[in-house]
Symmetry: C2
DNA sequence: GTCTATACTACGATAGAC
DNA sequence: GTCTATCGTAGTATAGAC
């Protein structure tokens, strides 16, 4: 399947070198095909780029959907909702730390900094899906908050997990881990989950 | 000062379009000079890029140093340390949210995802400076934690503020704020600080 | 120091053979 | 569908005038 091979190669190279930095020549060569295959399958470089976004959305959904479908919480079950958030967060953080997702993450990071049409597709296709569930659960865990504050809590909690990927270089530096080894990854995931639990089961002095 | 003008233009364009996407032609033209000025002042594109990193370090230090110098905490003053972290965090988050720092942030973000020599310079020149202080304060606020856990707490707290910049596109989306207005920015900064206070004054059930 | 002019390379797109 | 060959454009670097 040359189409898929092109997509995966392209995500790698777009992620590592940016849209301009990655060349169709190099992508085609790495995928062991001719440059004009890109024209044939995707219409051109731009089309290939957008197809990469769609491909990432599919892959993320494949991993996230089963996770999301396992949580079911009663409307008044505060501690159940807290545990559900922690469970989802641990799964999501694990995905963020896995090497498998590194190329997608770099691709998405580029779009986060300089959003194009590709970001719109990733946001509506994957990010919204996750955040809707998280906001809902935060709402159950923290009924004292109104909608906008629930959203701010949800995004800061999830932001920590995303930062595990986006800020990896500086995390590795601070932990003096040359590469993110399993122990360091576990340490950081545990920390992010503990922080989330802390925020959701707010002690009186930090209630807001 | 054409050198400075070139640097600021270059940071903008490198940040927005990446190293490959930004062309020396365009940078020189925007800075109202000839392309060969870049060769004269910086030796070439690569040299210009590294000089941008050094320039960012200087600018960040100018803003961070006065902030860091205002905090002085006794070794046993737990609540003092917590408040100091919150104070620094608020200042730092404010810097992260300001439009002035947006070009630098994009530049640094590119380096975080794909570190080069430029990241090494930014890390040693600016990031290490900040994180050393934060880790020290976290150590006072949470004497129950050993060094590695202090670091993990410090990086997750600071990561929230950095994510305000790196994840801005998705934050705006979730808050349904087309652009990050003052109210949304204040909401997010308050939230990040509240989370930090929550984490540092840990309630028993989330102690770890 | 700053400019113009030019050499050389690499890019994306496309036409056309198979 | 996939390839080769080629065209026009845009990039960096550099030489040399002033």
């Amino acid at each position: 399947m040359i189409r898929k091979h092109l997509l995966e190669t392209a995500i790698h190279q777009f992620g590592e070198r940016g849209f301009d930095g990655a060349s169709t020549r190099s992508i085609a060569a790495t995928a062991d095909t001719a440059m004009s295959s890109i024209t044939y399958h995707f219409g051109g470089k731009e089309g290939l780029y957008l197809a990469c976004a769609d491909y990432i959305v599919e892959e993320v959904r494949d991993r996230i959907t089963p996770l999301l479908s396992t949580v079911e919480v009663e409307d008044s079950d505060r501690s159940g909702a807290t545990e559900a958030v922690c469970f989802l967060l641990r799964g999501f953080a694990g995905i963020m730390m896995s090497e498998e997702t590194a190329p997608w993450a770099r691709f998405v990071s580029n779009e986060l900094q300089q959003p194009t049409e590709a970001f719109e597709r990733i946001a509506t296709g994957a990010i919204d899906l996750i955040m809707a569930k998280v906001v809902e659960l935060v709402g159950i865990a923290r009924p004292d908050l109104d909608e906008i504050h629930r959203r701010s809590v949800a995004i800061t909690i999830w932001g920590q997990a995303i930062f595990l990927r986006l800020g990896r270089a500086s995390i590795e530096r601070l932990l003096e881990a040359n590469t993110m080894n399993a122990a360091a990854a576990e340490l950081m995931i545990d920390r992010v989950v503990a922080n989330a639990r802390c925020i959701l089961t707010q002690s009186p002095e930090c209630r807001q």
